[in-house]
């Protein structure tokens, strides 16, 4: 656990007058679980947005496996190995859970429209392979039994998990999870922590945004804290918890006091 996979270098993101990220630098190492925390509106989701190409940083740079992501198309960033979930769930509601994941696995299909039209062997082979893979991922995340249900009809917690399975469907190296435990009860959170560790043990690198302190401190190898768009801490969970600036940043936000 040494080599870094993703690097933010002096990343700054400005929306008109709002500076959502101000000169933020940190890196994620291979196979690490990195927690990203901060009060509401600190700029956590914005970090995901600039990594995945939703927004282009106004200053600074982001590199993935040594190559800059600047100007790269969003779907190419994903195909290059970075996948995310959404804080506000954005599944394709009228597709089944399985179809949601298969659509993501299409990312690395070689057969396209024409071979699909004529039912060429490569298309059929890939369909079969990816359908199996999608089911495997649903099982891995623990929602295999919901495969044939429409995403919009799934219970909330299952939808959150389906977001993770769908992101894994793109076969990423780096998985970005945006508050995957939002709205979960304590038992579900414990389950989720296990799942996240399982994901890491399967070889993925994880960047985790989470408000629940016990979850994020329990599961992360390292934690980055941002406040008002600035990085204020970057350390082991135990150290971060006792950091003076971090405690200050969180004062007055009662539900987040650990």
């Amino acid at each position: 656990m040494s080599e870094s996979i993703l690097k933010l270098q002096n990343a700054t993101m400005q929306f008109g007058g709002v500076v959502a990220l101000n000169d933020v630098s940190f890196e994620i190492k291979k196979q690490e679980i990195l927690g990203l925390i901060g009060p509401n509106g600190a700029g956590k989701t914005t970090v995901f947005n600039v990594i995945t190409g939703v927004y282009q940083v106004t200053k600074g740079d982001i590199t993935f496996e040594g190559k800059s992501l600047k100007g790269r198309k969003r779907y190419k960033i994903t195909r290059g190995g970075v996948a995310r979930t959404f804080q506000n769930i954005r599944l394709w509601g009228d597709m089944t859970a399985l179809e949601n994941v298969i659509t993501a696995t299409d990312t690395h299909k070689r057969s396209g429209l024409i071979s699909g039209l004529f039912g060429l062997p490569i298309s059929r082979r890939e369909e079969k392979r990816d359908k199996a893979r999608a089911q495997e991922l649903l099982d891995f995340i623990g929602i295999g039994e919901y495969a044939d249900r429409l995403a919009k009809n799934l219970p909330y917690g299952v939808q959150r998990r389906l977001e993770i399975a769908r992101a894994l469907g793109t076969e990423p190296k780096l998985l970005l999870l945006d508050e995957p435990a939002a709205g979960f009860n304590p038992a579900e959170k414990v389950e989720l922590a296990k799942t996240i560790r399982k994901i890491r043990d399967a070889g993925y690198t994880v960047l985790l945004i989470e408000h629940d302190m016990s979850l994020v401190m329990g599961v992360s190898d390292r934690v980055v804290v941002i406040d008002f768009g600035q990085k204020i801490a970057d350390d082991l969970p135990a150290k971060v918890q006792n950091d003076k600036r971090v405690i200050e940043a969180y004062l007055g936000v009662p539900e987040d006091a650990s």
């Binding site: 954005r90 509601g93 298969i102 993501a104 699909g116 039209l117 249900r149 769908r166």
Partner: protein
């Protein structure tokens, strides 16, 4: 409440292959026998029944199927679909009268021309979304018509006359009033189109379109090359429109810019919306009904646009997803665990 779409889909899913083949053959036979029912209650008092089946009915069905790829499958609002129809028809008109090529030779050329036009329009237009796309495509439809109107070398306002009929095949002659032969020929094109769309819908392309329609940003972020798939939808839709144009010109043997007004785009859109956006069978049904009824019921013919407008408003309120809505149903949960 009885749901025709779910009932139909249920029967289909429960059936084995032999039964499915039987159902399909039965449906094709029923469609093919339509021209033979001229003397029955189906007869149209306003225009010749056989000719109504060819145009508008069959042509509307083809165009609605094509537009459905664009708007129903991928959610791209194209208000200028008539442009591709016009390009196909004019390709037939020009090449048919000025070269020795026959309809079947011109068909692929007309399709290619329409696809090319779809590409030319799609590359800039598909960077825009929603209302902007609708306005650009609407403008494109008008530009094509007005260009034809002003180009005297292709007939200008007079259009093109004397387009040749398709050549005789198997001793069957495409005379102007051999409506049955035309209908059966067009039916084959319809079946091919349906085959193509069904094939595409279940694989990668179908899922990509579906994901784009439901949430384009999420699709892009999940690695779907959304722009490329939108172009494909546009170009494939255009190819079907172009084919319809070639066939149309081969049947009417006379075309003029008046045949390609905005109204045609709106009518085909109405067929799609009325029948059920995104559902092939709904779209076919919608096109059959809206193509046929005006010639069957004089009142509708007299006030065509008014009636269609009223129908659309009613549908939007009572049944916004159309007669046969797209699949929104879950498969009957299987007892077995996997695949």
């Amino acid at each position: 409440m009885f749901n025709l779409r779910d009932w139909g889909a249920g029967v289909w899913e429960r059936s084995g292959r032999p039964v499915r083949v039987l159902i399909a053959l039965g449906a094709i036979a029923a469609a093919a026998s339509l021209p033979l029912l001229g003397g029955t209650f189906l007869n149209t008092p306003i225009a010749d029944y056989g000719s109504v089946l060819v145009f508008p009915v069959a042509i509307f069905v083809i165009m609605a199927l094509g537009l459905n790829i664009v708007i129903g499958k991928s959610g791209l609002l194209d208000l200028g679909y008539v442009a591709f129809f016009a390009i196909g028809a004019y390709t037939m008109g020009i090449l048919g009268t000025k070269t020795g090529l026959n309809s079947w030779e011109i068909l692929p050329i007309g399709i290619a021309m329409a696809m090319f036009a779809g590409l030319i329009l799609g590359v800039p237009a598909l960077r825009l979304r929603g209302d902007y796309l609708a306005i650009i495509t609407l403008g494109f439809g008008e530009i094509v018509r007005i260009t034809a109107l002003n180009l005297n070398s292709i007939g200008g306002a007079n259009g093109i006359v004397g387009i040749p009929t398709p050549p005789t095949i198997f001793g069957l002659e495409y005379t102007f009033d051999n409506h049955r032969l035309y209908f059966w020929t067009f039916l084959i094109i319809i079946l091919l189109t349906i085959w193509m769309i069904r094939r595409l819908s279940v694989r990668r392309a179908g899922r990509a379109w579906e994901s784009i329609r439901q949430d384009e940003d999420a699709a892009e972020l999940m690695g779907v090359p959304t722009f490329r798939y939108k172009i494909w939808a546009f170009v494939l839709g255009a190819s079907v429109g172009g084919a319809a144009g070639v066939l149309y010109a081969s049947k009417t043997l006379f075309i003029s810019p008046d045949n390609f007004t905005l109204q045609v785009s709106i009518l085909i859109l109405a067929c799609v919306v009325f029948g059920g956006m995104g559902n092939i069978w709904g779209v076919v049904l919608g096109a059959i009904i809206l193509g046929y009824l005006p010639d069957r019921i004089r009142f509708i013919s007299d006030a065509r646009l008014l009636v269609f407008g009223a129908v659309l408003v009613l549908m939007m309120n009572l049944r916004p997803d159309g007669l046969l809505p797209r699949k929104k149903r879950e498969k009957a949960l299987p007892e077995k665990g996997q695949s």
